[in-house]
């Protein structure tokens, strides 16, 4: 009695929900990299740990966070507060607290490991060290360390170039391993790091333009070193306003950049990104990004993709929420589930036919054998627009009859 009613209800729910192409990610991942070692780079570890705390607070579980720390500042013998990492001079919040899972530590943080993590997967690596994403994963990638024009230094002896990262991302794209990527980087000349990307679905932001340093924010005079970088500090400060159901958009985050406070000119790149950064409101400060008070560098702030942004609003795509990348998926649209959810539990290398990640997926939430037939039925539904509401009406009536008859039979 209950079972048919439930299945009917599910079918109905699916039919009534609108076909929203934008919110098609079903899982969130974060890759947080601190690439520099040594005690005086304490702040880079604090940067990465600050991001770690934020993404975890917003709902990404440890299993979906890859944290790479090139050094262990918490256990450095120079650390007056052993086992703790603080990102503010008052030492109010211990970022190294109780529940930290560092996936790559110390000398494991290499360019090779980073590129293997992002671009490829090897079954010989433990699952905790793998980025087990699929075509409906939204990935937040955060890099911090010492960098220069189109490179980021790892440890003290090697560099990853902007080309390497761009190629790795394209490899992911080809393999159907992401839906969207949000790439954030805090180093000197950080904006050069995303300049070489060419794969669709990547939104990027960096702390400083080419030829500009990224600065540390504050010192703690008991720890004896700078504890956090300026850009990351203000991003994290903004993030404190965001909760799991927040409707704040990326445009809001980007317009919060305050150049006099940060000390460098952050940049945005959205030309590869399909969705609009914010609500299509021409009065939103995002339209004036990089031109406001305090932007002193020639030409203002750097926003690659400013021109095409207006065109994005004309389409039916949803604006980009901060929680699309920084949080777990809280309101899953069941209709958009494809078998990716199931694939999560398989070895991703065994996926035989990866799909293009951006194609709209239309599968029911049912077992794989039946999905084929139902998808053909759905195709017919899509072809005849009136069929769907009429079918829904009939089903609704049937459900009503069922429930009503159940109630009457229960009474009698």
């Amino acid at each position: 009695m209950r079972l048919p009613s439930l299945s009917l209800f599910l079918l109905l729910y699916f039919l009534l929900s609108s076909c929203d192409a934008s919110s098609q990610h079903t899982n969130n991942w974060a890759v947080l990299v601190c690439s520099s070692r040594y005690w005086f780079n304490y702040r880079h570890m604090a940067n990465a740990l600050g991001m770690y705390r934020t993404v975890k607070r917003l709902g990404i579980p440890d299993s979906n966070i890859i944290l790479m720390l090139a050094d262990d500042a918490a256990c450095n013998s120079r650390n007056k507060f052993a086992g703790s990492v603080y990102a503010n001079p008052g030492r109010h919040l211990d970022l190294y607290g109780e529940n930290i899972e560092v996936d790559y530590r110390g000398y494991e943080v290499t360019v090779e490991n980073f590129l293997r993590l992002v671009g490829r997967l090897s079954s010989s690596v433990p699952r905790s060290k793998r980025l087990l994403t699929d075509s409906s994963s939204n990935i937040f990638i955060y890099l911090t360390g010492h960098g220069g024009n189109e490179f980021l230094k790892f440890q003290d002896n090697e560099e990853v170039s902007a080309h390497d990262i761009a190629d790795a991302f394209h490899q992911m794209y080809e393999g159907g391993r992401y839906n969207e990527i949000f790439f954030m980087v805090d180093t000197c000349q950080a904006n050069s790091m995303y300049s070489k990307f060419y794969s669709p679905g990547i939104l990027a932001t960096g702390s400083s333009v080419v030829g500009e340093n990224s600065y540390s924010h504050e010192n703690d005079y008991d720890i004896g070193v700078a504890v956090i970088d300026s850009y990351t500090h203000y991003v994290l400060e903004y993030m404190e306003k965001v909760n799991k159901t927040s409707r704040l958009t990326m445009a809001d985050l980007f317009t919060s950049y305050d150049v006099p406070k940060i000390g460098s000119h952050p940049g945005v790149r959205s030309d590869l990104f399909e969705r609009p950064l914010g609500p299509g409101n021409p009065n939103h400060p995002m339209s004036e990004y990089g031109r406001g008070r305090g932007w002193t560098v020639e030409g203002g702030g750097e926003w690659m993709g400013r021109e095409i942004e207006a065109g994005k609003n004309g389409r039916v795509l949803r604006e980009t929420l901060i929680t699309d990348f920084f949080g777990g998926v809280v309101d899953v649209d069941v209709n958009n589930e494809d078998d990716a959810e199931l694939r999560l539990f398989e070895d991703p290398e065994c996926i035989s036919t990866p799909k293009a990640p951006l194609s709209p997926s239309t599968n029911t939430y049912s077992s794989p054998p039946s999905s084929r037939s139902s998808s053909s039925l759905l195709d017919t539904l899509d072809t005849y627009p009136l069929l769907r509401p009429s079918l829904a009406f009939i089903l609704l009536g049937a459900l009503f009859v069922l429930v009503f008859s159940g109630m009457t039979s229960g009474r009698s």
Partner: protein, 621 residues
């Protein structure tokens, strides 16, 4: 490209690649160049000399130096809160009181060291003593060092930092003023730093007995170096590789400035980052820093007011004073204090000298500064290696880079080398009246003559062997115990070389060049080489050599007048060996060589004296 450019290009091509055989053209070009230089050799030499001397004397000017800066990222100087406070000052005062009681009771160094060791042990640090004795000296030299090691709480002790104080202060190069407050500071500091667990390396506290000798004995034992005249006890406690050392010298009652003494043994200098960090920290803490103990302005009362008050002149005078002090410390090779001993083992060290004054600072400021400096050195991840090892500090916050001071001496050295080569070439040729009056020539021809190389080389070698013999006599242990040894040695060094002309009788012929010319050529080339080499090892010594030998050796020439020749001979011997008659200087040098292994005495005997002796011989051959 415009027409002019093309023409220039064509000209250059014609000049460098003329028509005809390119090899022939090259040879011709080279010959033209050489003859161009050779014809103007005297002018060239003179201008090099003048440029060199002017450069040497303009090194103290503010045009050649620049401000200091940090080069090592890891140091992070002055970025910590310091917790040294009145309680620690009280500790230091307490230790000072105890030490004063010991001083007043005429305690032996054994008793002193036992007391200090017991204090270290009471603080909770493993401590030990080390007896040492220098043998073979007229006066016995022995004592007892005390040291304690704070093991790094959280890492293996593969590296160490030293905080030291010697029992005798560096006032007047160790005239016997006691460094009681320095020792008290080290004791209080050891108690203070033990509270913290953030030390990334072991900290060794040493109280060296005597002025320099105690630390020399301790360092030799620590690094396993044997010294034939030193009997030092093995160290019971050891640690890892020492990277940095701070030596604390606090002779007065209070202090007004902190002075930096940094010259090491045999001209070595510590990495500049260490000094820069210290002066930065000290000034942030509020204590002014000076170089050496130059806190008063130089008295220039003899100059007219308008010159004296000119800022450039004032700067020049102050910096020249600093540099002169530096040259004395560096050229003498004995360094400017106990810290200099560390440099032999590649430990960057300097002395924090509390310039005695009535106030306003004392243990409180000093402790804070040392604490902060210790935190900075604690931040080091590897040995100090960035920044500069070759520099001249003209002030505590200004320095001259090697590129701005080295050329001065090199120019003089090049001038001497050119002079030597010129003499060498001249010796091979002689202008003679043409025998046959054919072809209507001018009557003068250049003929080639043989150069007596072997004789000149044997004289050069002989002088150096004589110098080595002098050094052997000087460093022998009975030299100082017998009377009148120095005048006797001087007379010997004066008379013996006079026999040289008898061994090499001069038969003046047209076929053989005079020996004096060849000897002079060798002498100039050798001196030039020596100066160039020394200039990177010990710039001050090279500068002194350049000034002392540059012009004098170049003007040496044989004289036909025997008496005139003897006068010149005597002058060169006085220049080269006169230091032997200065009693204090000689004794100091012998002591430095015996105890500390300072190279100045052997250098003067084996290199410097023979060079001037060769010039002296040029005059009498």
């Amino acid at each position: 490209m415009d027409g002019q450019g093309l023409r220039l290009q064509a000209f250059l091509r014609r000049f460098f690649r003329p028509a005809g055989d390119p090899n022939l053209a090259r040879i011709n070009r080279r010959r033209t160049m050489f003859s161009f230089i050779a014809r103007r050799m005297t002018v060239l030499k003179l201008s090099l000399f003048i440029a060199g001397y002017v450069w040497i004397f303009s090194v103290p000017s503010s045009q050649l130096d620049r401000g200091v800066y940090f080069d090592e990222n890891a140091l992070q100087p002055g970025q910590v809160n310091t917790y040294w406070n009145w309680k620690e000052v009280h500790d230091a005062d307490h230790f000072l009181g105890e030490l004063e009681i010991l001083r007043d009771s005429n305690a032996t160094s054994e008793q002193r060291s036992q007391f200090i060791m017991s204090e270290f042990l009471r603080i909770g640090l493993p401590a030990s003593t080390q007896n040492y004795e220098f043998t073979g000296l007229p006066k016995g030299l022995n004592g007892t060092n005390v040291y304690a090691i704070l093991r790094s709480p959280r890492v293996s002790g593969a590296e160490a930092t030293i905080i030291s104080a010697s029992w005798i202060s560096r006032v007047n190069e160790g005239d016997g003023t006691l460094n009681l407050r320095g020792v008290a500071t080290v004791l209080a500091l050891s108690r203070f730093v033990k509270q913290y667990s953030l030390w990334a390396r072991d900290i060794i506290f040493i109280i060296g007995d005597g002025y320099m000798e105690g630390m020399q004995a301790w360092l030799s034992a620590y690094h396993g170096v044997t010294q034939s005249n030193l009997r030092a006890q093995r160290l019971e406690l050891t640690s890892g590789v020492v990277w940095t050392a701070l030596n604390i010298d606090y002779p007065g009652h209070s202090l007004s400035h902190l002075g930096i003494f940094h010259e090491g043994l045999n001209g070595r200098l510590p990495n500049q980052d260490l000094l820069n960090s210290f002066q930065h920290i000290s000034r942030r803490t509020g204590v002014p820093v000076v170089l050496y103990d130059h806190k008063d302005e130089l008295d220039l009362g003899w100059l007219p007011d308008n010159i004296r008050n000119h800022p450039e002149i004032k700067t020049y005078a102050a910096q020249a004073r600093n540099l002169w002090r530096h040259v004395r410390y560096q050229a003498s090779g004995r360094g400017s204090g106990v810290h200099g001993l560390f440099h032999q083992y590649r430990i960057d060290a300097f002395t924090i000298f509390a310039v005695p004054a009535a106030g306003p600072h004392g243990f409180h400021s000093l402790g804070r500064i040392i604490e902060s400096t210790l935190r900075t050195t604690n931040n080091l991840l590897e040995r100090l290696h960035a920044s500069f090892f070759f520099y001249l500090l003209t002030s505590y916050d200004r320095f001259v880079k090697i590129g701005n001071y080295l050329p001065s001496v090199i120019l003089i050295s090049v001038a001497m080398m050119f002079g030597g080569l010129q003499v060498w070439v001249d010796a091979a040729w002689m202008e003679r009246r043409h025998d046959k009056h054919e072809e209507g020539s001018t009557g003068m021809v250049w003929i080639r003559r043989r150069r007596p190389v072997l004789e000149a080389v044997s004289i050069v070698l002989g002088t150096h062997i004589l110098g080595a013999a002098c050094f052997f006599v000087l460093s022998h242990k009975w030299y100082q115990s017998l009377p009148f040894t120095s005048p006797l040695l001087w007379v010997a060094a004066y008379i013996l070389p006079l026999a040289v002309p008898r061994f090499f009788p001069q038969n003046i012929t047209d076929n053989v060049a005079p020996l004096s010319l060849v000897l002079k050529a060798f002498n100039l080339c050798l001196s030039s080489t020596v100066i160039s080499i020394i200039s990177v090892l010990n710039f001050s010594l090279a500068a002194c050599l350049a000034v002392a030998l540059g012009i004098p050796l170049s003007v040496a020439s044989s004289s036909s007048n025997g008496a005139m020749g003897m006068v010149r001979y005597t002058m060169y011997i006085v220049l080269g060996f006169g230091w032997l008659l200065l009693d204090e200087t000689r004794k100091q040098m012998i002591w430095d060589w015996d105890i500390l292994g300072v190279w100045l005495l052997p250098f003067l005997c084996v290199v410097y004296y023979p060079l001037s002796l060769q010039a002296a011989l040029v005059c009498i051959i």
